[in-house]
């Protein structure tokens, strides 16, 4: 029986509830089955990289905030340690600890959004708001410290804009105490829900070799069973001082590397981040945060590539300096951008509803993809 059929082209986005921003997916459908997905990006392009060439080094930092706006702290982190490497600055211990604390809090906050919106994509509204309620606590801590809730401009080359707020350590400890039971609740409400498992297990399986071929990093790569985390494998800052595990996907509910694994790896990473946080808060030294701040940021001629483990994956900054006050070139290797590239591979042969689930599990932020 060969019936003549025709593929239907459906444009998902750029205005669509679950494209997480202004992404347009050109989907070729056969019935409700996806034949091909072609992502169209650039609706949010703001010329970050070109802009950076006209900015002095410190002026670039507010622009990095706006790339992955759910993980601004980590974008700052990557940029400042890249410039510090270029200039050969050693920052004080306290600064290193504060950066790690902020980075890990940011990782938890970013994963909260990822998990919450993932639930939302699958129709569960309530976990989303529970997670946002908890994220608010982290944002309040950030606001106390640097005055902003989303776009921090907190980490500076050679230091920080402000020292920690006197209440910060206490609040952070309280947050850990408060949030641990909430993860259990989230698991009961969403993670182990049969409908949720049915929607995500065995869906969008990403084998380890495909993931490596596409250059996938971060929780997505780890969900495919590859133990790769830059905090351990190419350690930077002071991450080698902390004791933490790298969760990898094990296919508890389905196959290794399916959507459920990608989701669950993030849940486990939040727990590991809290472990790092606890240790960092215990070891936090006293000291001056501004002692290494250079008077004038004018790196020597040279290039640098520094990568950090952003909540979404490997965030790399490649900076060419021509010895002037402005960088000659700033190139960013954004994790979301690379991770999105695999969507066609993942969603072929699945239903539209699965496409949404797969897209949600990639956890993209369009601000960083389009830059």
């Amino acid at each position: 029986m060969a019936l003549r059929t025709e593929e239907l082209i459906l444009n998902v986005g750029p205005q669509h509830p679950s494209t997480h921003g202004v992404l347009r997916l050109e989907v070729e459908l056969e019935g409700e089955l996806v034949v091909k997905v072609k992502p169209h990006i650039g609706y949010l392009h703001r010329c970050f990289e070109k802009h950076a060439e006209a900015m002095t080094y410190p002026q670039v930092i507010p622009y990095t905030d706006r790339m992955d706006y759910l993980a601004s702290m980590y974008n700052n982190f990557g940029y400042v340690i890249a410039v510090e490497k270029l200039m050969g600055i050693e920052v004080p211990e306290r600064v290193e600890y504060i950066r790690v604390i902020m980075g890990e809090l940011q990782r938890i906050a970013s994963h909260m959004v990822a998990l919450g919106t993932y639930g939302l994509d699958l129709g569960a509204f309530t976990p989303f708001l529970y997670l946002f309620r908890d994220r608010e606590k982290i944002l309040t801590m950030f606001e106390m410290t640097c005055g902003a809730r989303l776009l921090y401009n907190y980490m500076w080359v050679g230091g920080l804009s402000h020292d920690l707020h006197p209440d910060f350590v206490r609040l952070a400890r309280e947050f850990i105490q408060y949030f641990r039971p909430n993860i259990v609740e989230l698991n009961n409400l969403l993670t182990y829900n049969k409908i949720f498992i049915e929607r995500t297990a065995h869906i969008g399986i990403l084998p380890a070799d495909t993931a490596i071929n596409y250059g996938i990093t971060g929780p997505m790569l780890r969900a495919s069973g590859v133990n790769w985390d830059l905090r351990k494998n190419d350690t930077y800052s002071i991450y080698n001082r902390f004791d933490f595990d790298i969760p990898v996907g094990q296919g508890h509910m389905g196959t290794v590397g399916d959507c459920w694994d990608r989701y669950y790896v993030r849940v486990l990473e939040m727990e590991q981040s809290m472990r790092i946080l606890e240790q960092a808060l215990d070891q936090l030294p006293e000291g001056d945060i501004n002692s290494a701040l250079p008077k004038r940021i004018k790196p020597p001629v040279g290039t640098v590539y520094q990568r950090v483990e952003n909540p979404k994956g490997e965030l790399g900054y490649f900076i060419i300096s021509d010895g002037s006050l402005n960088p000659f070139r700033v190139k960013v290797r954004g994790p979301s951008f690379v991770n999105l590239s695999v969507i066609n591979e993942l969603s072929r042969g699945h239903l539209i509803a699965d496409l949404i689930a797969i897209l949600g599990s990639i956890d993209i932020v369009l601000g960083e993809i389009d830059r």
Binding site: E6, E30, L33, V35, G349
Partner: protein, 170 residues
């Protein structure tokens, strides 16, 4: 004019009008949707005739089942809106003459030859019990055979519509 009459004429008008559109409409989806109103009108007339069970079956089977499937088929057809169905503009005069003669003869026979029996309408009695008894006593064989036939049709349809999805996956 009583309420009964008003409702009857209402349903009759719905049936005839929508049936006319079904035949004449150039858009196949319009035809299909108008068929819905035709069925609905017929249902109303069944109710007025006291055949409540048949009316509900009409609603359930024709509107809830067959028509929906029909719409499914029509909607998924390739380029629905541009389908050009010829509605008999070719031989319209001979057709009108032929059908006119046939229809005239039939009405003449009905009008003049039939002995109309005029009697007051029966009060509406529920027909469900009677139908049930008949179906499971006198007509049980037919009933069962029809059931088996439908089952076979169902399985056949499922096996035809079944498709291998594996080819798509890689």
């Amino acid at each position: 004019m009583e309420l009964y009459d008003i409702i009857f004429y209402l349903f009759a008008a719905i049936t005839l009008l929508s049936a006319f559109i079904v035949v004449t409409s150039k858009n196949i989806v319009h035809s299909a949707f108008n068929l819905l109103f035709t069925f609905f009108g017929v249902t109303g007339i069944y109710v007025l005739l006291g055949a409540d069970f048949i009316a509900v079956v009409q609603l359930l089977v024709y509107i809830g089942g067959i028509l929906i499937l029909l719409l499914f088929g029509v909607m998924l057809t390739n380029r629905i809106t541009s389908v050009d169905i010829r509605t008999g503009t070719v031989h319209i005069i001979p057709a009108v003459i032929g059908i006119g003669i046939l229809w005239g003869a039939l009405t003449a026979i009905i009008a003049f030859k039939t002995n109309w029996i005029v009697k007051p309408a029966d009060s509406m009695e529920p027909t469900t019990v009677g139908l049930g008894n008949l179906l499971l006593t006198d007509y049980v064989l037919v009933f069962e055979l029809l059931g088996i036939l439908l089952l076979i049709a169902l399985i056949g349809a499922a096996s035809i519509a079944r498709r291998e999805f594996e080819e798509l996956k890689d």
